[in-house]
Symmetry: C2
Subunit: 229 residues, 2 copies
Amino acid sequence: MLATGLFSNEARNLGKSARTRARLMDAAVELFARDGFKAASVNEIAKLAEMANGTFYVHFRDKREIVQAVTLGIAQELARQLDEAMVDIDDAVERVSMATRRFLDLALTSPDWGRAFFRAAWAFRDLRENMLSFLRADLERGRDQGAFTVEIDDVLIDTFASMIMGALFGRLAGDFGPEAGARVAELQLRMLGVPPQRAHAVANRQLPELRLTIAALPKQLKPDPVPSR
Amino acid sequence: MLATGLFSNEARNLGKSARTRARLMDAAVELFARDGFKAASVNEIAKLAEMANGTFYVHFRDKREIVQAVTLGIAQELARQLDEAMVDIDDAVERVSMATRRFLDLALTSPDWGRAFFRAAWAFRDLRENMLSFLRADLERGRDQGAFTVEIDDVLIDTFASMIMGALFGRLAGDFGPEAGARVAELQLRMLGVPPQRAHAVANRQLPELRLTIAALPKQLKPDPVPSR
DNA sequence: CCCATAAATGGGAGGTTTGTCAATTTTAAA
DNA sequence: TTTAAAATTGACAAACCTCCCATTTATGGG
């Protein structure tokens, strides 16, 4: 039994039902990332999670339900970690740069999650809007602080987000290295009206080490005492 | 028989085989736009094209083959029209703004094509790189003309393209109106280092009426539907 | 350790999908 | 008009899908 995914890790101290559910969700993340939400099949999810297909329907009413659970889980986890990483930053220029760079670093920590998020962001409007509302807050903060000279409207916010999504895709595809985050952040700041020199300086400032939290611990967990099968 | 799609129109003077093939491709565009390449079924494509499923296999070996034909066809058509619209523009600032705005206008002329392009651009690397090479040429032209102060590298080009894709999505989803093209172009020019005032002026200049060419025909009577999924 | 209950299993009904093929209809050249 | 080639049809096998459910297996409070 593998149980190395992030959902499984999060549920490792919960009851058996929650752990099984989490294993299904981890398998789903992997398949959603590869094939998309429509093309991934319940059969394949159960097979990848190493359980009978009937088990799936004990934990989820149907495919729609696991899609919802997975996308919500990914979005919440990303938002939580991002929020935590920026909790004591006031300067909007710093926040905006940090959001982009941290988001990319986080998503790349678990590429399957990153890929699933990429798909979900285009497919589910409410998830997208939830994420954009955080962005809007920081952009308006920057305007109020006098740092951004551009008008803040829906197109701007959406465009800003698209730049992040494009970078996420490039990183996941292996087209770009880790430096892409800083580069995109710099371009974003230029777009917003931050003087080029400051944009370059802020976007390339070294970020403090990311403090990992519960769910983000990787592999190497104690195997289940009961041998499988 | 409908035969109202762009491929059908392009093939309307060719032999019967080519016309049937084109009808299948038009149906495929519609389904690819709605469901994605993986989730669309051959059965449904044939049904939408009002022919027996066996006919599909006379014209295409399998689904992979029609996906390739459709994506290639869309990309070529868009590139051809864009190229024609900009043939006598020298100033890179104008070209870059025009490429974004014209592209969005074109894609919105046939929303199904736009949606299919949106999906294809993320799914097929060679198509994406083909499009990006046009972009690179104009960006380098602007640098050589001294209009852009930003360094031109892969991340910049990709980010620039992502801004267009984000706007395309927003337009197709009905989140933005026709003014979004000019707004995004303005943001792009700011990012590139064009002074804000000039960026605003160029991006909002009225474009000459687009001269339509062969394939880019007719009405689009379907009411604007929901985006993807 | 007992045993009520929760969890998991695996087979199957009923539907859809892919790709094939013999039979039929349409096309167009002579 | 004739006729051979080209195009189309629709039934079908085999694979695969979703969801159900009668059973078996595991868990944990008393």
